[in-house]
């Protein structure tokens, strides 16, 4: 069965969901949070950020909760949380497997 466009989350997408899983935020707040959380390793350009937000909104993984002029605040939905947790668990499994492999050798 062909995968949908958001069945595989890229690193940027994962961190956007991570940020919103903490609290509702607007776009610039999300970008700042991700940069701080990753120590500058992951930066979100505006084109990337707003494309992700648009796709997540289209797939009902996030929703707009407030509009203050041109500033829009988003919150994560249940499907968004589920997608975030599924990806988190997958990555944990990958790291666990890698750790076990290294211990053996």
């Amino acid at each position: 069965m062909p995968k949908g466009p958001l069945d595989i989350l890229s690193e940027s997408m994962f961190y956007v969901l991570m940020a919103l899983s903490k609290k509702s935020m607007c776009g610039t707040e999300i970008a700042e949070w991700v940069t701080r959380r990753t120590g500058g390793r992951v930066t979100l350009g505006p084109g990337t950020l707003y494309t992700i937000l648009g796709k997540f909104k289209e797939h009902r993984m996030i929703q707009e909760v407030a509009v203050d002029g041109r500033k829009r605040t988003y919150r994560i939905t249940n499907p968004g949380l589920n997608a975030y947790w599924a990806e988190r668990d997958r990555l944990r499994a990958c790291v666990r497997d890698a750790d076990m492999t290294e211990r053996r050798y």
Binding site: P5, S10, G45, P46, G47, R70
Partner: protein, 384 residues
């Protein structure tokens, strides 16, 4: 302030070439203006040479002047500005941003996310191509085939040729777009950013020639439409002598000025210098009748043969006539081609002699009328 006008050297879908070209223009002291690309022409205004980064972003819905999405949403423009990216203008289905701050984060930092925005655009163009193909097939089916020569004779060769060229150009353009977008998508999905410099000069001449064709062809087509109007007038008002009329075929025939008007529609074309469609209602000593004559003098004999072929196979007959036609034997005639059929109400005759093609349909209201062979002989004599 003097502006510079340029035809873009690369197609809009070649992101890297566009970005490199605009960056290079900024280094030379030319900045893209916000009224660029209105008719496909880039407009630059002079400025101090600077290191500017230009980036193209695919529009997520069809970007057009007519649906209110010829620019991104204001909220998005403002949001991008907060990151240091200024919206400049739109080129086709791409919004163009620029940034003067070398420390500002890139517009797109995740190629796989950028691939998603390109996906939406690729799907739209693919749909447009499929719709175009369906339209063409529908047209061919409605006209029961491809009667190109007949359309040239009736609508004008410039209109048909420019229309066909425009159709071919449009198909090729869409195929090129899909090919470029597919390459871009593959690159982005491999996590390779579309920010590398690219040689925009190679292929510039070819692209500009294609762009000029894309501007010239619709203009030619529009002019051809505006100036291709056949003239229709009552036969009685016709001052010049027509090469073939009912009176030349039926002895002593005169125009019947009853409740139906006899008319002639005159066409003019470079490949068909003399063409007309004659509807004549006449009386003669033995009775009355009607005759529809399609006459064409062509530029070459093969065009005459082709026209008759298209009349025979594709031309719509009256809706009340059935499809079945019975061939009538005409015997030996001094013609390059002579065919005759009996229909339910009208008999049909197709003649070709040299560069002249004739299609006649007629009906006599009395039994004492001419035979098909007599009609054919009289028509051929009039054509001499």
């Amino acid at each position: 302030m003097e502006k510079k006008y340029m035809l873009p050297p690369c197609p809009e879908f070649n992101l890297q070439a566009n970005q490199t070209w605009l960056d290079d223009m900024a280094k030379q002291g030319w900045l893209l203006t916000d009224d660029s690309f209105f008719l496909g022409v880039a407009v630059f205004e002079p400025s101090a040479p600077s290191h500017m980064r230009y980036r193209l972003e695919a529009a997520q819905t069809h970007a057009s002047l007519f649906n209110g999405s010829d620019r991104p949403e204001e909220a998005l423009i403002q949001a991008n500005r907060e990151f240091g990216w200024e919206y400049v203008t739109r080129r086709g289905q791409f919004y163009i941003y620029r940034c003067a701050d070398p420390a500002a984060v890139e517009l797109h930092t995740d190629p796989q996310v950028q691939a998603l925005s390109v996906d939406a655009l690729t799907k739209r163009i693919r749909s447009e191509l499929i719709w175009s193909i369906c339209h063409v097939l529908l047209l061919l089916w409605l006209h029961a085939g491809f009667s190109f020569a007949l359309f040239c004779a009736l609508l004008g060769t410039p209109l048909m040729v420019s229309g066909l060229a425009l159709l071919i150009w449009s198909f090729c353009d869409r195929l090129c777009r899909i090919h470029r977008l597919s390459s871009l998508r593959s690159q982005l999905r491999e996590n390779r950013r579309a920010t590398q410099r690219s040689d925009w000069r190679s292929g510039a001449r070819c692209h500009r020639a294609a762009a000029v064709a894309g501007i010239v062809l619709p203009v030619v087509w529009i002019f051809a439409v505006l100036f291709q109007f056949p003239s229709k007038l009552p036969l009685a008002q016709m001052e010049q002598q027509l090469p073939l009329t009912a009176s030349q075929i039926v002895p002593d025939a005169e125009i019947d000025e009853g409740f139906l008007d006899s008319t002639v529609t005159l066409y003019e074309d470079i490949l068909f210098p003399e063409s007309y469609e004659l509807r004549e209602y006449f009386r003669f000593p033995e009775g009355s009748g009607s005759m529809y004559i399609h006459y064409h003098r062509t530029a070459a004999p093969f065009l005459a043969r082709r026209l008759v072929y298209e009349y025979e196979h594709y031309f719509d007959r009256e809706p009340f006539e059935k499809d079945e036609r019975i061939p009538i034997e005409l015997g030996e005639l001094d013609a390059d081609l002579a065919l005759c059929y009996r229909g339910d109400y009208l008999d049909e005759l197709y003649l070709v002699r040299g560069t002249k093609a004739v299609y006649i349909r007629w009906q006599f209201h009395q039994d004492a009328a001419l035979t098909a062979r007599e009609v054919a002989l009289a028509a051929l004599e009039a054509l001499d």
